[in-house]
Symmetry: C2
Subunit: 209 residues, 2 copies
């Protein structure tokens, strides 16, 4: 645990942790993670986020079944894709293996945090602006608390079934599920495409820096 | 500037800064902000984000015209809304005044960072999962660098016009505009609804903690 970690150190080493120990995580730490989420901005500061802390083994298993089914739907595409920017073929293969692992063991994470929005924030791409900043704060907080976590959205392929499992009311929508647990791997520096490759000046296509 | 700021301190004091000085911001700091953005997760690690650093006064003004028009469309709704959770009527009035200010002075921010996604990430709510975590990292980085910033999406009401101003290709979409500049106000603690009010156990509606 490194609660005193510097902001930049936390951001620059916040790897997706897809291999987790099944050991329980104290509620106090989950609470800290969610509180960090509530510090994020949301449209009009409406804070329409709701978080479901799923610990019940049967509910986790029901979610894993949909998560795995969605994986089967997408797996071929994942494998056919080129390595992500800044990554080698070997790094891609490692990521795919970690994804396989997460899919098989999704329900064994001690906690799944389901991130939702209520009310009229539920439609249009900008709705995500009111929940994913909170998700990012939660991932950073987990990292500082020595907990592994990763942002997943794949369950949305089976959204109606997931909504039923979680008994979501009509006005609520899920946007992410974050499996949280003590990590089997280590945090460390990330490989990304350099800033120059993704930044323009003034208009699309104009070179910056 | 407080590059060594702790993660939790940065998150817990990251107020939306809507009043900015027009003084220029060094490109080196903008670069650090965008680099922090690239450390965020994205779906399949595809890093489909693109950032347009807008400094040209004429382009900024063109964006402000749309931003203000969208404000006129929404203003009545903003004023009629109750204070956000955890906030008083006075705090709401202050936020509305700051919003008025930002709307009038949007183009006077030395830099507007337009956050985009390319390719097939552009549709569905989950697309936001590949850009808003980066936006949150950028806001946190700005805070650590002593720069004011705020997440805005209101330009999306005039998306086709904005796309034309920025010469966006068909396969790209904007998700946020972040005005960045030295702040006129101070960073400080946030007021939010407590965790207990927004968290459930296992299923929607079941009490947690």
């Amino acid at each position: 645990m490194d609660r005193k970690i510097g902001l930049f150190d936390a951001m620059r080493t916040m790897r997706a942790m897809r291999r987790l120990k099944p050991d329980p995580v104290p509620d106090e730490l989950i609470r800290e993670i969610i509180e960090a989420g509530t510090w994020a901005p949301s449209g009009g500061d409406t804070q329409h986020w709701r978080f479901i802390v799923v610990k019940d083994p049967e509910i986790k298993k029901q979610l894993q079944i949909r998560y795995k089914r969605a994986y089967e739907d997408l797996k071929e595409r994942f494998h056919a894709a080129p390595p992500p920017p800044g990554k080698s073929e070997l790094q891609k293969q490692r990521m795919l293996a970690a994804r396989d692992h997460l899919t098989e063991h999704f329900h064994e994470a001690p906690v799944l945090i389901v991130c939702c929005l209520v009310a009229d924030s539920g439609s249009g791409v900008a709705a995500g602006a009111s929940i994913y900043p909170a998700v990012q704060n939660m991932l950073l907080a987990a990292r500082a608390l020595g907990l592994g976590a990763t942002l997943t959205t794949r369950h949305l392929l089976y959204e109606p079934e997931v909504d039923e499992i979680l008994r979501l009311p009509d006005e609520a929508h899920t946007f992410a599920i974050i499996p949280v647990g003590y990590p089997l791997g280590n945090f460390g520096p990330l490989s990304r495409a350099p800033v120059e490759q993704v930044t323009f000046l003034d208009r699309w296509g104009e070179k910056y820096l």
